[in-house]
Symmetry: C2
Subunit: 137 residues, 2 copies
């Protein structure tokens, strides 16, 4: 494998499903039906911090974060969006976009590390992936 090949971290892969690819980033749905939760992953080998990207790429990522946030708001009407680039557990650059509600399982705290994830199951997963892919089409 080429050292400069882009590949998605195995832990991110194991806990999420692929959605559409945008111009700069891959999108994935986190497999936890407790929250509508997307990952925005710039297709840049070895990227860790947003400030490591070139200005052009970084602008592209910001625009795609905006786009994802709008789709999430349109689709789920959340009380609040949580947008975060943490990377403490998985170092590969990825940005979380999570729709939050006052009656969700973690509110008003962040979602990371709260309880056990609740996988979608195949029917709900298929519906959710289809809806989101249509929304991004």
């Amino acid at each position: 494998m080429d050292a400069n090949t882009f590949e998605i971290d195995s832990q991110l892969k194991q806990t999420s499903y692929p959605l559409v690819s945008l111009s700069v980033c891959d999108l994935r749905l986190v497999d936890d039906q407790r929250w509508p939760w997307l990952l925005i992953i710039p297709r840049v080998p070895h990227a860790v911090e947003l400030i490591d990207l070139s200005p052009e790429l970084r602008s592209g990522v910001w625009l795609e974060i905006d786009h994802v946030a709008r789709v999430m708001r349109d689709q789920f009407s959340p009380h609040k969006l949580n947008i975060a680039a943490l990377g403490n557990q998985v170092r590969q650059l990825h940005i979380h976009c999570i729709a939050r509600f006052p009656d969700d399982d973690a509110w008003p705290n962040p979602v990371w590390g709260v309880g056990e994830s609740v996988p979608y199951g195949s029917d709900l997963l298929t519906a959710r992936l289809n809806n989101l892919n249509s929304a991004f089409a």
Copy 2:
């Protein structure tokens, strides 16, 4: 008070100290010496989500987030930066920029809600504010 006056949320004010004002955002230092932790607060009345800002303002905020992240990296050489717009507890739009280290009190988890904050105390606070204000000058 004019309904369109910008004012910083009282909870943010109580838990942080003012740093320099950038072109679009106010900066504040969170009063918790466990982590170098800045708040980036766009001076836009009633702003809640980044996508609510005009494209021009939003670009300005992104550029200032980049700037803050670079200063944080230069000043503290963190293992990872955490950059997040959550807003579950304080609805006013504010972006966290936190320097993280593998030996810090929350690693590898997020910092929010972990234990009790450890205030700087006057000497350490003054030094930290001076250093950061110089770095942003």
